[in-house]
Amino acid sequence: MKFNSEEELVLHFKNYFYKRINKDFIYLEEVKGLFGIPDGVLIEKNENNICIISIEFKLNNWKRAIQQAFKYKSFSTHSFVIFDGYYSKSILKNIEDFKQFNIGLGFFYKGQGFNIVYFPKFERPFSEHYVNKMLNILGENIESNNVITRDKVSIVNSEDIFFQRYIQNNYTV
């Protein structure tokens, strides 16, 4: 079964994810004012560390998705494209492009959950400027006594982030 629109894909993913969300996560939608507009940004944080995972949702336009997801690497530690799983067969033929540009590749299946077929390596975001902007946006979106500022946090250089563990432990397909 395929999704009727990108909006439907985003909505289903959000509902699916929110049910399982952990308090250490922040999820922002359609974050503007950066390089590109990620459909979603997952922020995993503890007192001192932060991991920024940007997500682009697409039904099937993989070339454009890679270009968009690459832009998010300016301010993200990981950048993903999550496609409608209905199109997985054709998109998987291009998995090497995702690896070449170090963009995560995942599929969300209508009514069946999702899996990640390529988890990108950690990369330090390209732009200090956009990271600071991202943190400012984040600060505006969380409780004032828990504001994240650049001098309080460091970018996590770790493969052991919750999102990855979560994904690996929750395969449904």
Partner: protein
């Protein structure tokens, strides 16, 4: 082939670039942006290398500084209409030509009126109410400056052979004119034109005008000016903002409320790539591609590009002035011989595509407004044009 600055908002950057950096061969002065008083006070050596676009495009709207020019139709009275133009056309022509002569401009420009779409009878009206009074006055006064006729060519006119031929025969009927101030109006949404048919027909149109011994001065050009050079026009333009590199009638329409628009992203022009690269890619390029000198030419403005990116904005003069210098050098370095020019450009476009491949191979998938996708179209257009010239 000459290069003019298409002046607009912040035209002082164009003047600085022309005078201090020796970029370009003159200015096309825009009265919507510069008052009559300021224009008159410009140094004569600048005016004598420049020409003046009277900008009669929207005759009943004296937007911006157009209100300071007594020959602008909308200044006759509020609610100016075509009936008024019939009464005052001779007077406007006299004043407009006299102004251009008194200021020592290089050419005398006959203005055009803009409509969307062209109404039935547009060319007859244009001839009777604007061109004839201008030509009559010019003949009576035995004016020696070359007359340039402003011609706006809409996308559909360029693409349709019958429309194109009609327009060519209409233009060439005026024996008194020495050339055309040609404006291609289109509605492409990409930053570069990626339409082989459109670009090829533009070359045919320029070539047809040149065959009729008319000078061709193309206004509002972006990087495709380089491609147009294979049809040997007399001049092309550089402009500071996107609306000066692609004609938009919105520049001449007063809006009651300023629309909320997303600001354009700052871009840096690369002559080696024939492309404007989104500034936000710079840090990725520095990190992954490393050899930035292979992409961006050295100008006195280049060192400022490595300043922190939060200080960058699309209106920073360094971005424009860098483009003016690099593009001006590119135009100057074009071979005079058209065959050599054509061969050289295909080589350069091919080299640019190789650099784009290297950028991609080092892990940067540039988007379609920063990549080299337009160059494939340009190479095809040049090959089509070469075949056309061979078959003539």
């Amino acid at each position: 082939m000459k290069l003019y600055h298409q002046c607009g908002y912040n035209y002082i950057w164009n003047i600085d670039s022309f005078v201090d950096d020796k970029a370009g061969d003159g200015l096309i002065i825009s009265p919507v942006n510069v008052s009559k008083e300021k224009l008159i006070s410009l140094p004569q050596e600048i005016k004598s290398q420049s020409f003046f676009d009277p900008q009669f495009y929207i005759m009943d709207d004296n937007k911006g500084e157009l209100g300071t020019f007594d020959f602008f139709p909308g200044n006759i009275h509020e609610g100016f209409n075509t009936e008024d133009l019939k009464k005052h056309s001779r007077e406007l022509a006299e004043k407009c030509i006299s102004f251009q002569i008194e200021n020592g401009f290089n050419y005398i420009v006959i203005p055009a009126r803009h409509y969307e779409p062209w109404p039935t009878g547009y060319y007859e009206e244009f001839t009777d109410l604007i061109i004839t009074p201008f030509l009559d006055f010019s003949t009576e006064k035995d004016i020696k400056n070359k007359l340039l006729l402003t011609v706006i060519v809409k996308q559909y006119q360029l693409m349709d052979e019958e429309d194109r031929n009609y327009l060519l025969s209409w233009i060439t009927q005026f024996q008194e004119i020495g050339g055309v101030y040609l404006i291609f109006e289109n509605n492409f949404t990409s930053k570069q034109i990626k339409d082989t048919g459109y670009l090829f027909n533009a070359l045919l149109f320029i070539d047809a005008l040149k065959e009729n011994n008319l000078e061709v001065h193309i206004g509002y050009t972006n990087t495709e000016a380089i491609l147009f050079s294979v049809a040997n026009p007399d001049s092309v333009t550089i402009g500071a903002y996107a609306n000066l590199r692609n004609f938009s009638i919105d520049r001449f329409i007063t809006l009651e409320e300023r629309p909320i628009m997303q600001q354009p992203r700052p871009r840096i022009y690369s002559g080696k790539l024939y492309q404007w690269i989104d500034y936000a890619y710079i840090e990725a390029l520095q990190m992954l591609y490393k050899n930035m000198d292979l992409i961006f030419e050295d100008t006195k403005y280049k060192p400022s590009f490595s300043e922190p990116s939060d200080s960058w904005h699309f209106t920073r003069p360094e971005l424009c002035k860098h483009y003016f210098m690099v593009f001006s050098q590119q135009i100057k370095s074009l071979p005079d011989n058209i065959e050599d020019r054509t061969v050289g450009l295909v080589d350069n476009f091919t080299n640019a595509l190789e650099i784009f491949d290297k950028i991609k191979n080092c892990g940067i998938p540039l988007d379609s407004d920063s990549d080299g996708s337009h160059l494939h179209f340009w190479i095809s257009v040049i090959n089509m044009y070469k075949e056309y010239i061979k078959g003539k």
